[in-house]
Symmetry: C2
Subunit: 224 residues, 2 copies
DNA sequence: CGGATCATTGACCGAGCTCAATAGCTGTGG
DNA sequence: CCACAGCTATTGAGCTCGGTCAATGATCCG
């Protein structure tokens, strides 16, 4: 199973701090509270969205009837690109935290044939970013023991830490849907990490991470 | 865990029979034998590739040192788009079967600012397709019991059946890398499906599928 | 305060991993 | 052609992680 390939392909790229103002001139900003729906699966909206603040989850219901969170999208991420192609949204998009969005109408992008190429480049960049994150999700969050997957998830969430160093910690059943495990296992893992001092719960729905211990734990996990 | 949501979000869209000649005028065709590498992870190539025949796998080595197949790409799929953005390839691309490719140089796409919008649309379409497939992979192939995942994989492979109805069947350890299970479990599952008449092995590396029984088995699996 | 949702913990059990042995298949050289 | 080596696949036996079922705590409101 082990390989001697040297290059380290790291799943999660450093946070693409797109604090710079959105490039989509003409797009309209809007805000949503946590648990509000951005768009519904199967519905046909005329726009995709750039997330400027907060975290949005994309989820669907599998043929087995199980709710499954496909990926998380944060600031700088684009969701609902399928609308640009006049297709219904594939997944349900729901705000995990309070979020701020930038609504990008399809019409805006369609008038882009001869528009400045910077915009086109940006579009491609974001699109590819989504693809890579989706693939990183497969690679990191669906592989190995439950403990490993939870650690990986924490590492991902740490990238979205808010100003005072707190990270958003999903509800246990959401963790389950992300990592394909039961609520109980998710809870057990979180509790264990708390006892190990890796995690310090700050209810509601938040925690403080000990980055060093987290890194150590992940290294140990990968080693074992 | 079960939900009463009615809409069926099917993971795998019908095969995008892109038998039509590639839209990329100026791109150069090339052929590779099975197990040949299309591009290496970390290397910097000047082009992305459209697959016109065969199957290519995209894989990486996780931080745990485990080889993990991220997705499969077939005819009509675009791989290595990151080259368009002058970035090194994220994953290793290896031909699973003999493949035919269309090499699309970055320069070709860069001269696209004012080019016909049809090409731009096509690019976006493919990009989105890759994203969706990656997400479908997460949804279908990383969820649930080993048996379910193998069935899902077979359903996916069935979409790439060759002319005489045979499907390419990965080596057991490749199945393992795709579905995050051991070689032994993969072998056990395949053997079981063979005994159940869902699968008829046609070595080397091929099989014939009983679509009806496969569908039934998947339905049973989802029901249980 | 009472009810609802969410989280934690325990006891038990089974799917899948580990370790290990056997069997097919493929190619290579005598 | 056969014999052998090296890979690939299959199968078995035991053990463990995580799922299932169930009970108890927290937390959060109205």
């Amino acid at each position: 199973m082990r390989m001697n390939t040297a290059q380290a392909v790291n799943g999660f790229q450093p946070a693409t701090a797109s604090a710079a103002p959105p490039v989509w001139t003409g797009a309209v900003a809007l805000a949503l509270a946590a648990e509000q729906r951005v768009f519904a699966a199967g519905s046909t909206g005329g726009s995709c969205h750039e997330i400027t603040a907060g975290i949005v989850r994309l989820e669907r219901v599998t043929t087995a009837g199980q709710r499954r969170i496909i990926r998380l999208a944060g600031p700088g991420d684009l969701i609902g690109q399928e609308a640009l192609l006049q297709r219904p949204y594939t997944d349900e998009a729901v705000a995990c935290t309070d979020v701020q969005l930038c609504r990008i109408p399809r019409t805006l992008v369609q008038a882009l044939g001869q528009a400045e190429s910077a915009l086109l480049t940006e579009l491609m960049r974001r699109w590819q970013q989504a693809l890579e994150q989706s693939e990183a999700w497969v690679a990191d969050l669906t592989t190995g023991a439950a403990r490993r997957r939870v650690l990986k998830l924490l590492a991902l969430l740490a990238r979205h830490a808010d100003d005072d160093g707190q990270v958003w910690l999903p509800r246990r059943d959401d963790i389950g849907a992300m990592l394909d495990m039961t609520v109980e296992t998710a809870s057990r893992m979180v509790s264990r990490l708390r006892r190990e001092g890796i995690l310090d719960l700050q209810p509601p729905r938040h925690a403080r991470l000990d980055r060093a211990r987290l890194a150590t734990a992940m290294a140990n996990q990968d080693a074992g």
